[in-house]
Symmetry: C3
Amino acid sequence: MGIQYTLELVGTTFFAVSGALAASDKSKPDWFGVSFIGFITATGGGSLRDMLLGSYPLTWVNNVNFIYAIIGGVFFASLFMTQLKKIKPYLLVFDTLGMALFTILGTEKALNFGVEPAIAAIMGMLSAVMGGVIRDVLTNEIPVIFRKEIYATASIAGAALYLYLNHLNVDRMPAILSSIFLISVIRFVAVKYNLSLPKFGRKSL
Amino acid sequence: MGIQYTLELVGTTFFAVSGALAASDKSKPDWFGVSFIGFITATGGGSLRDMLLGSYPLTWVNNVNFIYAIIGGVFFASLFMTQLKKIKPYLLVFDTLGMALFTILGTEKALNFGVEPAIAAIMGMLSAVMGGVIRDVLTNEIPVIFRKEIYATASIAGAALYLYLNHLNVDRMPAILSSIFLISVIRFVAVKYNLSLPKFGRKSL
Amino acid sequence: MGIQYTLELVGTTFFAVSGALAASDKSKPDWFGVSFIGFITATGGGSLRDMLLGSYPLTWVNNVNFIYAIIGGVFFASLFMTQLKKIKPYLLVFDTLGMALFTILGTEKALNFGVEPAIAAIMGMLSAVMGGVIRDVLTNEIPVIFRKEIYATASIAGAALYLYLNHLNVDRMPAILSSIFLISVIRFVAVKYNLSLPKFGRKSL
């Protein structure tokens, strides 16, 4: 539980930073609004996963350190906002690492609940993307999963790799790191080369 | 449990088709986005119902066949999209049958949980309409329940009929079929004659 | 449990009134749409709180009186809509009292679940504001927490006072009343003098 706990805390902080940065782009929100969005981004996906699985108590409800991690992330975003916004890849790094961590943790948690691998991958992906989706709905943005670059697909691919390595009895840490690596590579390559999936419709079949 | 399971699987497929068709109307979504919307439309209402009732494990979390049903529905929508869009009533049929099935299944499930009939009808209606409402929120549409034709009202009427027949000890299948029939008739008549409920406000009392 | 039950019923009615009034501002919704929004506004925050805590059965699922309270609130809004809209502070009063009641009830309920005080305050605040946030998302409004006047902050301040008085072993009723009073005063002063929190960003630190 030690590694899961640490990684979830780190992922939560990353998501709080990315949520606060995203919120601060909107028309002059106040401190509370930005913190609230940071909180929703950081807890939304994991809370949905836990409520769908019936996994009580929820991580952040049971442990106040997650709240401190979120407050820390929002403060960090505030202090370094100007610098962070200049270096755009930084934003991508926070969001991608948060997303990758939550994908693997969510998949693992769902597996431990005894669901089938396909469901576990979906749970991992929902943990990873739904915080951002809720953030986008609340701030009237087009949800992240519908924007251009491959996003949730990277999450599903990482979850699939983790499940496969798990099936081959690969040790936990190498399996986690390989999956995080895969998600990050897919995401960075997709953003750099502006890749997207084929459009839906008959011709694309 | 056999009939409930079969009907829920059929309703899920219908909702996935209608979700995918609705999503494909938006500005060129990719395959993943469309599948995601199909998934949300198909699982959203039932998941909310189960989380509100505390009915764990959730149907689709416990049984991977629901995922296959959704994938099948999205593929079907993709293959026959052009044809399906030409014949507008087809769309209405999928959505109405999905909605009618979920209304009755949701009402029944809630009754089995021991809630009062009025609550069971609300649960049936939420199962039936919330998948579509979440779909509309994510794709920035005005939620289906606020659009013109009678929609959630048809669901509530069907749930009420089912509860009444249940109260009269009518057998399960005739009760289910009558209620589905009532919902479909109300919905088709409302669409055909462009009917709507009275507007809210003093004059309409 | 008697007072908690009564207050939750009163808060639910207030929220149903404010939800129905908010919905009726939109382009001519029908009766069902307005009732649905009243219902979501009144039950959304408390349902989310209970699902996050894993507190089953949910209050309104277990007791049909909450549905009657909502129907009553929607009727009341319909009968007195013209008058209520002329006297703007009335709207503010309904919303603020509903919000204050839900803050304290939510905080108390979470405390009884054994969560830490900081989490309890967040649960109180979520109970109080999320019904309105969901209402705003469904009606395509900018969520209430991002609009100008101090809102969720008043809720958190009231929750903090309640927790402090609770910590000092102050009796329950005076603690509840003082916290409701604090929330109302902050909110009325903020609206009257158009106060808002400092904007997020480096300069505001």
